[in-house]
């Protein structure tokens, strides 16, 4: 245990987008802030969704409040996080098996929520988006876009740090410290060192996504969450360049989003028991549903290589007067446990969606400021995130790696691309054009403890080869920074296994060939299996 117990104004539990956004807002308002995350930033639902910047249209018919929140946040994120957003626009298409009459209801609901929604001719839709199912009978154009949740989270974390926040990954909350009906801090297990640590704060904010139910339990209060699991598939190239949705009541696998060099179909939606939320392996049944439904949006998916499958768990919250969970909202839930449960100094922020994170953060921070007697308004809606500032110095010559990195880090790229060392330009990852300089920047600045962290920061190993050779190169570069070679080899083995977790559910065709080649290189040629440990925590 550390000799001195550290004191903060606010402790934020959870390093997903909600926690990251909350830490940013708190620190921008001058609060002394600590964020603790059990594993890695964006490990949970934040890193396991479509990467869709909803227009809100999907919710317009069923949940006007959510739809309005979405379109407002959509417009804000295009400005403050422009380096994370690709302005693609999208369609809601009607297929022969769908009811075309629903289109009118849909468009009216969109307009009522303030969402641009233009009915266009199916022929025009085919011209704008050639991959769309040619049998479509109707199309509505709406302002959907794609957003990179990993970048978005890191930009929030990085800015929180610039405003003085401390952020600790691999710190799992084991206890909530309560004294006379007041939460006074948390006890954490540091998974890297094995130490137990105590942190004190006047306010503790539970922003742990689905795991927030367990955090609330530790504090002795109940938040009625219903884990809703969603599986998705990533395809090896961008089949579509606009988002394609089905114009019907939300159902399985009815959204196809272009993200960077790939596209993503999803999701399934299944209520699952709370004790399965850490089991993210995708089942053959989920793969079958996703493929069958996905091909209806864009028939070319049938002949496109699937890179990997993944699943996340949405933190859906039942209203307090509805313990059965029949009336579930996707809206934001911000709970003051002092007024609700008589437990002071404790706030839960949950529900909502990845793309309404900023508003969620603002709500939670407003509540915390109220408790702390701080009278300062949120400025997150108008202050660009690091990487999205309007003006930043640029190098005279832009290398391939610089251009790729600029896509990932925006104006931050300058920080690691103006070096004079030519070795920094060497490419670690050829699929995603990740340079040695970018890897070093991530290791030094973005809380990178292992290769999976590095992948989430830079996209190393996310390209079509899924880490076939770049993983070994990245491990070598990691090793120059971290001295212990044996640990990095074990980490490399864990990384290859983590990639396999996503490839295994779709291991046929080219994927099986790639899996065998990867195994031939890492186990056959290199003997990496000699360093593998069972049951790795990622």
């Amino acid at each position: 245990m550390e000799p001195k117990i550290k004191e903060y104004d606010v402790i934020v539990i959870g390093g997903g987008i909600t926690g990251a956004g909350t830490a940013r807002d708190c620190s921008m308002r001058g609060l002394k802030t600590l964020l603790v995350e059990r594993l890695d930033f964006s490990y949970g639902a934040t890193g396991r969704n479509h990467g869709l910047l909803h227009s809100g249209a999907r919710y317009a018919v069923t949940d006007k409040e959510s739809a309005t929140e979405c379109i407002q946040e959509n417009m804000i994120l295009r400005k403050i996080a422009r380096h994370c957003v690709e302005e693609t626009d999208g369609f809601f298409i009607t297929l022969p098996e769908d009811d075309l009459a629903y289109q009118r209801t849909f468009v009216d609901a969109c307009h009522a929520a303030g969402i641009r929604a233009d009915i266009i001719d199916p022929e025009e839709a085919k011209r704008l988006e050639p991959s769309v199912n040619p049998t479509l009978t109707g199309a509505v154009r709406i302002p959907d876009a794609s957003i990179d949740p990993f970048r978005l989270t890191m930009a929030n974390i990085y800015d929180a740090q610039l405003h003085g926040a401390e952020t600790l990954t691999y710190h799992e909350v084991t206890d909530i410290i309560i004294n006379q009906n007041r939460v006074e801090g948390v006890r954490c297990l540091d998974h890297i060192t094995g130490q137990t640590k105590e942190f004190r704060a006047k306010v503790t904010i539970n922003a742990a996504g689905i795991w927030g139910a367990l955090i609330a339990q530790k504090a002795g209060v109940t938040v009625n969450m219903f884990p809703a699991r969603g599986a998705l598939l990533i395809f090896g190239h961008r089949v579509n360049h606009m988002v394609i949705n089905r114009c019907r009541k939300p159902a399985n696998a009815d959204i196809l989003v272009p993200d960077d060099t790939v596209c993503v179909i999803g999701t399934t939606s299944d209520r699952v028991p709370m004790d399965t939320v850490d089991d993210m392996r995708v089942t053959p049944e989920e793969v079958e549903v996703l493929l069958r439904e996905g091909e209806k949006l864009a028939p070319a998916l049938a002949s496109t290589r699937i890179l990997r499958a993944y699943a996340g768990v949405r933190p859906l919250v039942a209203a307090d007067n509805d313990p059965s969970g029949r009336s579930i909202s996707r809206g934001i839930v911000c709970l003051d446990h002092e007024t609700r449960d008589g437990l002071a100094g404790f706030i839960t922020i949950t529900g909502g969606k990845m793309m309404t994170y900023r508003l969620m953060a603002e709500d939670a921070t407003n509540m915390a400021c109220g408790k702390l007697g701080v009278d300062k308004k949120s400025e997150t809606a108008s202050t660009p995130l690091p990487g999205s500032e309007p003006d930043a110095p640029k190098p005279a010559k832009k290398t391939v790696a610089f251009k790729a990195a600029e896509g990932r880090h925006g104006t931050l790229t300058t920080a690691f691309s103006l070096t004079t060392d030519i070795v920094d330009d060497a490419l670690v990852c050829e699929c995603e054009h990740v340079s040695v300089g970018e890897v070093n920047f991530a290791i030094n600045n973005l809380n990178v403890h292992n290769l999976v962290n590095l992948r989430r920061r830079t996209r190393v190993g996310m390209g079509t080869c899924q880490g076939e050779l770049c993983a070994a190169r990245a491990a070598g570069v990691m090793c120059r920074q971290h001295e212990d070679a044996a640990n990095v080899k074990t980490d490399l083995a864990a990384f290859i296994n983590e990639r396999w977790k996503g490839a295994q559910p779709v291991a046929w065709g080219d994927n099986m060939a790639e899996a065998q080649l990867t195994a031939t290189i890492y186990e056959g040629l290199c003997g990496l299996n000699q360093y593998a440990r069972k049951e790795e925590v990622q």
């Binding site: 030519i422 050779l469 070598g476 080899k489 065998q516 360093y531």
Partner: protein, 411 residues
């Protein structure tokens, strides 16, 4: 065109079979799609490194006796004799090796691990047991070359008791090449270091940096056509020099492929490069001819055919959502029908798909729809019933099954 034997596949197994048959006076055509798994080679030849329980093997012919009856090694006959024949074939192709079938030695991997192996290309690191032949090592690497993780290799050598110093080296030519971010790959570096004058300056750089080490270790980035430049470098270095395998692309593998092809062609074999067999005509229980992608309308007729097209990674086997199949002739394949059972959750567990392959009789002849084809043989990784990763036997299986089939055909 009429041949004695047509071979499909230009990797280690296909070339071995082709060379053995051509040397016996046969008229052989070999159809090669281009790159083979030799491009991922270590520079060593594994015969059987581990037994079915994962324990290291010291005497492969003895250990092979314990394999199940349906294992392809059980269909080839005298393992030790074939192994000797294989080593001789390599030597005649210009690939000198050290090692013997009845006593494995260890090779040093690009991550610094030791793995039991049968033969190692001359000039590469070999280790008897766990004991290194030297205590003070200069481990050199070219600045900016990322496919040779020196810290990993040093870690492995230090664990075995060596005192290792890592020494970065470079030349003006390499500094120039580094300006293009993708140039620093083994085969490209081998081209930059591709003449005597550069090698002489490289030797001077190495000598200047070697210090008081007993031995110099260098990534295998020299000699893409033959080992003349490697020999020249050795002569000019004041200390013993050994090469260590790199992360692919593999320079020793590329060289082996070139030397084996050269040998095959010198023996009169016809090497159809960049082409592949797409179909065949079966009459009764025999394959009469095959057609290729490029030789439109020309049929390759032969008395015997050999399938050496490899496993999934070489596209000799193909899978889809529902099944596993052999794409050229559609011959019978051994695999598990239920797709979820093709794989295991842990990537380093024995993966069932690794043992999928074409079904053969005890002479390694394939079957179609349950009927054995009397003149079609399969060799190498396309065969069912072997896990090359767990048994650590890839090159041995390639060469020994190829030689066994060549011996059968010669009769």
């Amino acid at each position: 065109m009429k041949f004695d034997t047509v071979i499909m596949g230009g990797g280690l197994s296909g070339l071995t079979c082709g060379i053995a048959l051509a040397k016996a006076g046969q008229r052989v055509a070999l159809v090669s799609a281009g790159q083979s798994s030799l491009h991922f080679a270590s520079g060593s030849f594994d015969l059987m490194g581990y037994d079915a329980q994962g324990a290291p093997v010291s005497n492969p012919p003895e250990a092979i006796k314990a394999l199940p009856e349906q294992h392809p090694y059980k269909k080839v006959g005298d393992i030790a004799a074939l192994a000797e024949q294989a080593q001789q074939l390599l030597l005649e192709a210009g690939i000198g090796t050290t090692g013997t079938a009845t006593a494995n030695h260890n090779r040093l991997t690009p991550l610094g691990a030791f793995k039991p192996t049968w033969l190692t290309t001359e000039g590469y690191v070999t280790i008897d047991g766990d004991k290194l032949p030297w205590t003070k090592v200069a481990l050199m690497n070219i600045i900016g070359y990322l496919d040779f993780p020196t810290k990993f290799i040093a870690d492995g050598l230090r664990n075995a008791g060596a005192d290792v110093e890592i020494k970065p080296i470079t030349l003006p030519e390499l500094n120039e090449a580094r300006k293009s971010p993708t140039e620093m790959r083994a085969t490209n570096i081998a081209k930059v270091l591709g003449n005597q004058e550069v090698v002489t300056r490289l030797a001077a750089e190495i000598n200047a940096k070697a210090g008081d080490a007993q031995v110099v270790l260098l990534p295998a980035v020299l000699g893409i056509k033959d080992d003349k430049l490697a020999q020249l470098l050795k002569q000019q270095i004041t200390k013993p020099l050994h090469f260590v395998a790199t992360i692919p692309p593999s320079v020793p593998g590329t060289r082996m492929q070139a030397l084996l092809r050269k040998r095959f062609e010198a023996l009169g074999g016809m090497f159809l490069n960049g082409d592949k067999v797409v179909a065949g005509t079966i009459a009764g229980d025999k394959l009469h001819n095959v057609t290729t992608e490029k030789l439109e309308g020309t049929k390759l007729v032969a008395d015997n055919f050999v399938m050496a097209t490899g496993s999934f990674m070489s596209r000799g086997l193909v899978s889809d959502y529902k099944k596993v199949y052999e794409p050229i002739l559609g011959v019978d394949v051994d695999y598990i029908a239920e797709r979820p059972q093709w794989t295991q959750n842990d990537v380093f567990d024995a993966q069932p798909y690794m043992e999928f392959g074409v079904r053969t009789d005890n002479q390694l002849r394939v079957a179609k729809d349950g009927t054995t084809l009397a003149n079609v043989y399969a060799v190498g990784q396309i065969l069912s019933g072997n896990n090359k990763l767990k048994l650590c036997n890839g090159e041995g299986l390639d060469m020994l099954t190829a030689l066994a089939v060549a011996n059968t055909i010669k009769k």
